[in-house]
Amino acid sequence: MTGLAMPKPDAATLSRRAEIVADMKIIVPGEGVVDAVNGMRAFESDGLTAYRQLPLVVVLPETTAQVARILKYCNDRNIRVVPRGSGTSLSGGALPLEDAVLLVMSRFNRILDIDYANRTVTAQPGVTNLGITHAVEQEGFYYAPDPSSQIACSIGGNVAENSGGVHCLKYGLTANNVLGIEMVLMDGQVLRLGGKHLDAEGYDLLGVMTGSEGLLGVVTEVTVRILKRPEAARALLIGFPSSEEAGQCVADIIGAGIIPGGMEMMDGPAIRAAEDFVHAGYPLDVEALLIVELDGPGPEIDHLIGQVEAIAARNGSTACRISTSEEERLVFWAGRKAAFPAVGRISPDYYCMDGTIPRKELPKVLAGMRAMSARYGLGVANVFHAGDGNLHPLILYDANEPGELEKAEAFGSDILRLCVEVGGVLTGEHGVGVEKRDLMGTMFTDDDLDHQMRVKCAFDPNHLLNPGKVFPQLRRCAEMGRMHVHRGQMPFPDIPRF
């Protein structure tokens, strides 16, 4: 993907840049338009830093009315728009385009409503994920989906990516915790989907907006469910000689009817990198480490913790520690939470992948990765949302070595192909963006992709919103609208019935 093909910039738009910038300054007065190259540099890439592109202009609106005017203006003039939240996307979803307005939502940073009776928070999309929890924690509440980037990533970005976190298995992804949004279509129309009530009166448009990666509309307000903090939480830190045993242990825990609040796995290289970095006391003589966190009422945890310990022992665990204090529980997590930066210390660069597999395929996929690692001559460390089969292989490379980035990318693509081959998918939580765009064909047929694109056509028929992301190939909506008519005999002639 290093030779990533993006939609050809529109010459007419580029030539009208000065006029567009001036008009944007009229729509968003004050500090809200950044058009100097120096200022725009800060926005030239998102969390997928291998790709950089200066946008046409950066606009930071403050109100829904401004967003609506900007989008209508661009729609009428055939100008592309790329929405951006905090820019932490790991798949290049917020990568600017040379001829596109970059619509940055970070000034939408207010919490609008906290409703404890209905357990909802309504926030502007630029509020950070953790900001929502901060707003309600004094009352003992929190917002459950917790991506590792939660200090920085925006709730609007979370909706766009359907983000997850370590607590997803028990508490769901963003999609399961969002109740409503206000959004603006590319033509400037403002819509409300959902609210404090549940489910849709018609088609589940909120469901399809969640995870649509900024291609269907711009989210301008989000209502989420908040939960009461569990009474307690305790964690087990369990070491195994191999990932097979660890994987079986995960299966057996779930098989016993236990759904832990979090269940994370790390492989040998990840364990050692994390331990070197944070000194969490991880055992270094194991090849797989599980963190199993049980949360809920105290007596429930006491009841289950022994069961989990016994299941681990039955599966050949060689080390098992149970947290006895909140400090100790946090230390167990410290290594896992710091796994990315820890790997960053042992390698000049790393490339984070995000496939999901049926859990039982873990040994096969890890073995496959080891073989690829030897073939490409690049190291790989694995952290893994073990409960739901979501893998995060971190490929170690050095961008300063000519050809290594390309090698790392090829390695990554091979891993994702393997994930699909064993019945898994390309991305569990980071999104397709530009990164996995050209691999979509390994999972989907043209008919599959066309039906996805038909949703796009209903929302943004001119392909002006975030083009070049998600879909390997943009097809004109009018063209796709034509039906292939198969006229002919009625199949399996009449079976009349009354």
């Binding site: 009817g257 991305t427 996805q452 209903a458 199949p491």
Partner: protein
Amino acid sequence: MTTFTPTTSAEMLEAVRWAAGEGEPIEVVGHGSKRGIGRPVQTEHVIDCSGLAGVTLYEPEELVLSARAGTPVAEIERLLAEKNQEFAFEPMDYGPLLGGEPGRGTIGGLLAANLAGPRRLKAGAARDHILGIQAVSGRGEAFKSGGRVVKNVTGYDLSKVMAGSWGTLAVLTDVTFKVLPRSETETTMALRGLTEEQAIAAMAAAMGSSAEVSAAAHLPETVTGKVLDGALSGRASTLLRLEGFGPSVTYRTEMLKTLFSMLEIDTIDEAASRSLWRQVRDVVPFADGTGKPVWRVSMAPSEGHRMVMALRMQAAVDAYYDWQGGLIWLRMESDSEADTLRALVRRHGGGHATLVRASLAERAAVPVFEPQPAALAALSARLKTEFDPKAILNPGRMVASHGGGVAASHATGG
């Protein structure tokens, strides 16, 4: 009238393709258990999906089950129960309310209707548990979305688009759901004699506590005698369910008793609790064998009872509440009072009202599904056109203007 009974995906594709080619409208049915919901559909042809049946994959340890769309829900639930698992969203059974047999319904129909149950607040609806689908759109093209793993954001989530689409976008051929362990035990506490306002406050306090209440319903005095063979007759019952491992349920029961120490509380044991919630779920209190209009209204939990109070001033209505007060079941004495009701829902913070039981004439005359504001309606119509350009699939079932505008002249219910 032709009834197609495809037994393979290929036959399904062929049937829909033929209809798409000819522009022939078709009604899509599974067991027909929810055929009475929606605007009456009147078509020459019917696709009966119930022959496309069978569980194709069940891996309890992976928490995943795939089945052909026509597989009976009851069969799947039996299979899950053998492994102590279930659909955590507790799909309701419309059979009793609509005057049909209980225990009917296909898994495809379950998704198309986006079924849910009392655990909705905690565990979600069908939309929250669907992992992947295969389907044939009204264009006569087969497509798939999602997968068989529990965490997946690859491409648009068309599975969710199918949830609650009532067969108007595509005909499902295969579905994959997330399944979860069944709770080891459960118990229900009934707070007795609360007014609706007190009940709503109590349910909010319970659901907002760390007692992990999995369901909260309020049965006013007129309704409470209609469950558990009258065991709760007399004073209103506010029901709070606790589920999980034995020691945890015991502990949380005490927690709630402390929280509500000022109130009179009846404790309902496991077996009775299971039947009670099934009755609440399946609207048994209004399964009276009549055709009196029944509404399903979804609102913010704190607002529902205010709307009901205002409605009572204008119409004869019986009501009870699930989902902490956010799901309101209403039985009207005579007319459906659609406009009055919907105006009140809007006035009390919004939401939506679906006329789930009514005579054919009424369903043809009154929008069964909540009408949408213009911009949203236009977007939904565009989506419909993208998936089913000739409006051949269940024309007019959800929205009159999506094809099939002719009022029904004969019964298709059953």
